[in-house]
Symmetry: C2
């Protein structure tokens, strides 16, 4: 294909024409890119090639990988429902290194700090690059130019889209499962390593050439529910322990204690009430960060006070959302991942606590998805500019330390609110230009800071609805000027080289921005 050229996309960001050998389409604007062609088509299989008694258990990870025909240059995928408690993928790469296989692409839905050992496998040539959310050390490593391929950051929905559309072909999917049967039916909602659900691995099970289920809790057929269907599975491997339960239930679900953040959370809930969004039958989604959690708790109190019941709440679920379900404050939790053991229990026990997948919730290349049906979503950001464009993947020093998660997908809700502190470590969050563009400002409606609430001028309806609310609503430029003043001028720009080490995909598979190697 020759050297990739750099093209300026419709958001004014320079992006490469090719990434890891795959031709790219530059971002064309929200809803502007129309896909053509057909979905990926996995090979037709025959039951004649699978055991009639349904027993697909093999003796070891190595045996499974050998039977799958693992070879140099393949793509190996995994899901991140164990978050920082995953005990499978490091073992997998150790086995692969032992087998002498080289040059793999690892395609996880996300990598976590626990996957730091993969850096050594990259250095030794076992893995060429990781294509997935790079939280923490792997992101830092990539930001310093450590990978032989480029990082490709996709939203949860974008990962589904990329596999479904054939942009990423998975050779072997390795799906850790807290409970499974010998046929390969698997669930995340029970077992010693229970993580709730397995939705992030669903697309892998549907489209990968070969699928290995890895469990530490083998049960007699049938494993019910079958979040992963054995009809898509080739082999089952039983290990002693696949996840560390304490780290599976995320540490990010601690409620904030910061007075500023509590104030921001309360302001956000008050805004939702004042704007008329909090009404019978409404819906909301709030992430698992401390501020978002606090928002949900404030909103719950306001709902009780007003006698309002939600139709559904979108998870990541926590004990706070489960309480709302069990108190009758909502008919449903539509859950994409469980963040604590109460979420896991509720998913197992409550019919109204429903497992979703990136297909149902987020895939832009479906016949609609759930994201645009949500009345209000409350999300975080590392930076926002005065046009409401936002960044969630790089820090103010330019390092790529976070994945996108469902963030881009959620922007399609009817009202998107970012409650963010005006400063972090004395660095202002509202900037002239975000280091990395992840979310176009036209989809971001409200910024809530401890210094006031800014409404996107496009949302005349929200401005009108909250006009006489008494809330501290101010132009975003005014909040920025006040913060810059306090610091003594706008924040310093991160020190970056012009070497592209990664790209950010928009929900439709186009490239919305580049990520650059940092200066050391």
């Amino acid at each position: 294909m020759g050297e990739p050229t750099i093209i300026t996309n419709s958001a004014g960001r320079p992006v490469p024409s090719e990434v890891n050998g795959v031709k790219q389409t530059p971002f064309r604007g929200v809803g502007k890119f129309k896909p053509v062609g057909n979905k990926a088509a996995p090979p037709i299989r025959s039951c004649a090639d699978y055991p009639a008694d349904g027993n697909k258990v093999v003796g070891s990870l190595r045996e499974a990988l050998e039977k799958c025909g693992l070879s140099d240059g393949m793509t190996v995928s995994s899901h991140h429902h164990f978050r920082n408690g995953d005990l499978v993928m490091n073992r997998v790469f150790d086995v692969i290194a032992d087998m002498g296989v080289k040059g793999l692409r690892w395609f996880p839905s996300a990598a976590f700090p626990c996957h730091k050992p993969v850096i050594e496998h990259i250095k030794k040539g076992v893995v060429d690059w990781v294509e997935g959310s790079l939280n923490g050390p792997l992101g830092d490593f990539a930001s310093r130019g450590g990978m032989r391929g480029k990082a490709v950051l996709r939203s949860h929905g974008g990962r589904w889209q990329a596999v479904q559309d054939g942009e990423v072909h998975i050779d072997i999917a390795i799906l850790a499962a807290p409970t499974a049967d010998a046929f390969g039916n698997a669930t995340g909602d029970r077992g010693p390593s229970a993580c709730g659900l397995l939705g992030f691995g669903l697309v892998d099970s549907l489209y990968a050439d070969k699928v290995i289920v890895v469990t530490d809790n083998l049960v007699p057929f049938p494993c019910v529910p079958w979040q992963i269907m054995g009809q898509n599975v080739d082999y089952v491997v039983v290990l002693d322990k696949i996840g560390d339960p304490e780290k599976i239930v995320s540490g990010t679900t601690r409620l904030t204690r910061s007075p500023d953040r509590l104030y921001i959370a309360e302001l956000t809930a008050k805004f939702v009430r004042a704007a008329g969004i909090m009404r019978d039958g409404f819906s909301f989604q709030a992430g698992a960060g401390g501020t978002a959690l606090a928002f949900a708790i404030y909103l719950r109190e306001m709902m009780k006070e007003a006698g309002v019941k939600a139709r559904f709440i979108r998870g990541g679920s926590t004990k706070y959302l489960v309480e709302m379900l069990e108190e009758g404050l909502t008919d449903f939790i539509l859950d994409g991942q469980t963040f604590d053991l109460e979420g896991v229990r509720s998913m197992r026990e409550n019919r109204g606590h429903v497992a979703t997948s990136p297909f149902t919730s987020y895939n832009w290349h479906g016949k609609g998805n759930f994201a645009s049906l949500v009345d209000v979503v409350v999300l975080g950001a590392t930076e926002v500019d005065v046009h409401f464009n936002a960044n969630v993947v790089t820090h103010s020093d330019g390092r790529m330390l976070h994945g996108i998660g469902g963030w881009q997908n959620c922007l399609f809700s009817k009202c998107t609110i970012l409650p963010i502190p005006a400063f972090r470590d004395r660095i202002p969050i509202i900037v002239d230009k975000v280091t990395t563009l992840v979310g176009p400002g036209e989809l971001i409606d409200v910024i809530v800071t401890e210094r006031g609430i800014a409404i996107n001028p496009r949302r005349k309806d929200l401005i009108a609805a909250t006009k006489n609310s008494g809330l501290p609503i101010r132009p975003i430029e005014e909040i920025k000027a006040e913060v810059d003043d306090l610091i003594g001028g706008p924040p310093a720009k991160p020190e970056l080289t012009d070497e592209v080490i990664g790209v950010v995909k928009w929900v439709d598979g186009t490239v919305i921005d580049s990520i650059y190697r940092i200066k050391e």
Copy 2:
């Protein structure tokens, strides 16, 4: 392609090389045909083309069909969960006739006597032929050469396989749903026309170009469970009434009162016990016919007596199976269709009553399916020969009056038993050669008649296990001779022409036999 030639397949049956313009592979033997290539690949869609508020409701069937671009020669599909109580498809074809569209292929999972009006649409050229199970009048009509295309009889699993493998392309799927939301999420387990599940329409929703959900019970988003996912649905149509509940719950679930059949059912249960199949953790499947129902009731009593509990029972579910689940005689009902309202209630209420689909249960072109994991299955037949080959689709007069259902797929269970009367209307059931070959004898293990039990000589294990059981086990030839003697010679052969009006597919998509026009 020129005139199709007639080829003799590996079962010795002459079959056409081409059917309805599609090249065919003759049956090659059980497990012998290896598929090549990739699954069908539906077009990639974009949320940009669907309403952001999720409201896909349109005003009428006609509007939906027009928006789907219905035109001459297309394939329109539907499921048969309403059985003889379907009120949708006759309306659909009346609308299509009004629109002036011609030459359609109707691809239902099954047609029932209630669909007799479609004969008029065939005569008028609206529909060219029906490709699906033809129960009753449509089968009779086809047997007399009434259709402009050939009947293609497929098992439930074979229908999934044909769509998945791209052999049948569905242009527009019309999925009647007892409950749905405006986004297209749909379920069969509730609503005034509740039919239990919608599994027979699942493949249509996944692979059709356009999907219309038709409901008489629109609920606020989300419709939970979503047996059909709105992300695969284009339009939703609301009608006053989509099904006649009395006819949805099948009349075939009446227990037999015939002393002969009760005796056969009891013998069958005794055989299962004597063969050592009825043990803790075992599984069974019995159809909804009167004899199969009686078998389940006898077996239940024997299980209670012996203190044996099943791991799972495969439905079609009835109140008898629901009682077993609720009495703790099984952990699970894995259900493909509910045959009565108790089945519907249980599916809604019991976590152990699990919806399946032809993909999980029967698709031969998957990585295994549930059918081969079942310890014993009890099925019917219209004819059996002394090599245990069986027929379920044509009668002794040659008329094609029944679909295959899951029958062929179930033959892969660990033990297949056909409890059948030795005569029907004084016509012997055991014949020299079955009129239509639907199931190869190598997969059929036991025939139970009121004149004795015949075990397939291939099953030395079953012969040994039941040797000292005291059961009336006899060679099949002996039973046949005795019956023929009573009648005064073997039965007359049906009067058939040599014109092929349909074919029977094997589970792998190959052609196992032809069906001929009857002489009038």
